[in-house]
Each structure stands twice: as C-alpha cells, then as structure tokens.
Amino acid sequence: MEPREVRTAVSIGALELANPVMAASGTFGYGQDYAPYVDLNRLGAICTKGLSLRPMPGNPPMRIAETASGMLNTIGLENVGVEGFVRDKLPFLRRYALKVVANIFGSTLEEYEAVAARLDGVEGVHAVELNISCPNVKRGGMVFGNDPRAAAEVTAVVRRATRLPVIVKLSPNVTDPREAARAVEGAGADAVSLVNTFVGMAIDLERRRPLLYNATGGLSGPAIKPLALRMVWQVSHAVSIPVIGIGGIMTGRDALEFLMVGALAVQVGTANFVNPTATMDVLDEMTAWLAERGIDDVKAIVGTLETPPG
C-alpha cells in the first residue's frame, strides 16, 4: 500500500496539539536546551520543568543514579519559579508553534492556586499540568497524589483559579491509579497524564550507603514501561477524559502501544537524555508505522487494543 499522509492532530480537551508527542516535565528543561537538536515547531507540546511559586534550589548531590534499563532521580524540584519562567523562559518558547504546558506544583493548596492563577491569561501558556506525584520532596505534591480526596481537592482549587485546560499528572505509587483518576475527573480535570516516576532505590554495596542523597528516588526509563502501560490501560477504561501516556517511551512503537491501550497522546521523558532527538524520532517512527499500514489518522489507533474475553 502507498504510504499516505498521516493526520496527527489530537485534542486534549481544549488543548489542540499538532501531534500527540509531548516532552515530559523535568526531561526537557524549558525547551532551550533541546533547540539545537529538535525542531521545536514539530513538537506537539512541552511540559515545562515543574514550577513553584518561588524558585527552588533542588536537592544536594547525588541526584541521579543509573539502574538496569533505567535511572533514578531525586532532583528535588529545582526550578526558576513561576515569575522567573514567565519573565526569562517563556519568551523563547513563544517563538515556536508548539504548545506550552506549564507543569506546576506546591506544598499547600494555596501555592498550587497561586501558581495556577499567575499563569492564567499569560500569552504562550496553553495548559497547566498539576504535579501531585513528585516522590522526591516531602511536600512536593505526592501527599496530594496518594490520597484521591486530596487529589480532587487540589484539582478543584486549580480548576477555579485558571481558565486553561487542567491536566493532572498521576502517581504510580498507589495500588490502583483509577481511584485518583476518577476523583480528579470528578473535580474538573480536563485530562490525566500518567505515570510519574516509581519510588525506587539503589545502593553502594561497599560503602553501605544509598547512591542518592535522598536514599530513594524516582525510577524512569524503559524499565518502567510495562508497569506504566498497564496503568494507562486501566485508567483509560476508568475515565472519559483524555489520558496522556508516560513511562519509558523510547521509540515510535512504544508510543503506539500507549495509544493502543487508550492514551490520546504521549510524553517522552528519559529518552530525551539518552538521545536528544528522541521526541522527533518517536514522532517520525510513529507516523511511518501508521503510513505503512494505510492508517491515515493517528486517532484511529487509540484504544484499539483487542483483549480476549474473560
């Protein structure tokens, strides 16, 4: 069959993406680091480094450790703060066609509300993604993510503080991610994204010490893909809002698997570290796969997983 042009546009609520490939928060800075490698006009969206009300210095070293087919991090939410982002980072991103999803977090409901309110109506910000699932900071949001009621509460507060589409990034460090997903849907979330990192640990056997400053860190990379895929599959059957799949996506085929289990878009994270052109490679491989099969719209693959009865 002749390869045809593949339509790639998807809508996450009111957030219209030219294609379903997004850069995951914390793996793409504020975009500028990757401009030498990626045509940012071709990227569906960037999820910024998590933004807080005030700048944060992050954790002391060691912040990262490599593990089998993955990595642990405990960056500690280092960021320039919401004002610094609007003043110093956003003007660069405004030059490109990509959509800007501001990933935000706080240690209190009031802080989430204040950051969301600050970004409301700011030119060049197209959505907010609530980080309620950072495992590395005591008051970095996971307290909200691990309790469906608290997750709903913070979602409702942010919902009231902004007219922007609200995406809630869910924690995988729970028995069943569907509970928080349903709760935030009920509280007005426009979409959910999952998964954030899994809490993990690595040690230095000889020194009898953890490799990371914080003892534990968030596991990412291809090692977590099967876990993430299962959770995205579960959640996409539990909610009717769009689901964004994240977790160990390295290739276009990986991305297509997430779409097949029900995600409408994907975020590429750790792969950016390994290969700075990863987002573009994922997009190109994805569209080539679809074109080769005569599928002319990426949406046609979403949720098409065939599962045996029973």
Partner: protein
Amino acid sequence: MNHEILYNRPLGAGNYLMGVRHPDLAARAKPGQFVMVKVAEEYDPLLRRPMAVYRVPEPGIAEVLYKVVGRGTAILAEKRAGARIDVLGPLGVGFTMTPPEGDALVVTGGVGIASVVFPAQGLPRDKVASFYGGRTKADLVEADVLAAASREIHYATDDGSRGHAGFVTEPFERYVAKMDPALRARSRVLCCGPEPMMARVAAIARHHGLGACELALERHMGCGVGACLGCIVPKVEGGYMTICTVGPVVEASRIRWEDL
C-alpha cells in the same frame, strides 16, 4: 551521531585511547569540552557516558582517553576498529585559551590527563609547566605527549616509581611557592584529576594568589545538555550549577567547596 571507530588501543593500567572519525566534532571541539558517548545500542546501560575530548590529532578525527572503571567503560574497551559509535558533542564550556601573561600551570592526576593535553597543546609551549601524578609509573599514560606540550614537567607517584614519591600537589605547591608573586598573579592553573586533588590545587592557588584556577570537573551526567539537572556542583553564592552547561571547566572560586 553514528561514527566510525578508527582505533581503540590500550595504554596500560586500564586506560584506552579511542579515535573516532567525526569531522564535525573535530572541527568544533575546544579544549576542555566533552562528548556524551553511547556505549551500547541496547537500553542497558541506558545513559551516555561523558568523556573529555582528549585531542584532535588530525582534521576529521577526535580522540577520547578513558579508564575502565565500570560496566560502561568496560563495554567501550571491547569495541574494535571499524565498529560504529554514537558520540554527541562537542558539549559544555572548556578552558580559557588566551595565553596567560604568566605561566600556564597544568596539574593532573590519573585519567585527568584526558582533559588537559588538548589545552596544553593549544598554549605556547614556553608558558606551560606541567605536574602529572599517578599511583605508579604505569598510570602516567601519555606522559610523553603532555611533556612534548610543556616547557617542563614534574611527575609524582604514590610508590615513587617515577618522580616525587607522594601527591602531585606537593611538587606543584613547592613550585608555586618559589614563583615571583607578580608572576603568580598573571598565571593560570588548568587542572583535572580526582576531586580531593582538585580541592587541594584550588586551595594552593587561592593561598598563593594565582591569577586563575580552572578545573575540569567530573560528575555523573544524565543528558549532557542541561536538562536533567543531575550533574550539579554547589555555587559559592548558593544553589547549584549544572557542570554540563556551565562547565565542565569551572573557575575554582565559583565552587562552594564546603558542600561539594
């Protein structure tokens, strides 16, 4: 980003010299900059390995010098000429290459040699005084190459098998102490080695009033381009800097040493 390995030969004491055909890297690399090397096409090990650009021996070819210290470098050491490898770079900020009015004092230990030969070769030979330490004589790989780029060179080994028996910082400090104070202020240190060595070199430079002390720092890196925020060093004014973009070469006085 896929490049032909031209040679990958052992230098002794676990060190290897790899030459890669990489015209863009060879044309653009500045002394002290680094590359991120993907040692395996598979997902394990996942992350690239940061390595200094050792030299550009001729147009189109760039070299890295590395020591086998773990699984990644062990995989790299198995690569044969003719194989291909993914080398991303040049990255980061290298050494100041305007010749100092005074001396260029090159201080290095062990595989730190990988970062200092390229800048030494780029400075006037009559300005360069080098200090090279290792555990034994066998660890002083490429000593002749550094010597050829230096007006004088002083060695130190733990076992006394070559040069001074003890730390390389000892002959370095004796040398600096004998320098004319006005010459010290116009001189610059270029240093790469184990962290305790660099800390000592920085303290000597500060104590004796050397004009500048540039250190090529080493850290585990996730991305090499400033995004992962993994390779941080504490800044003197508070907070952290990523050495993949601010460095790897950093002036010693910018580091908050007590928190390193």
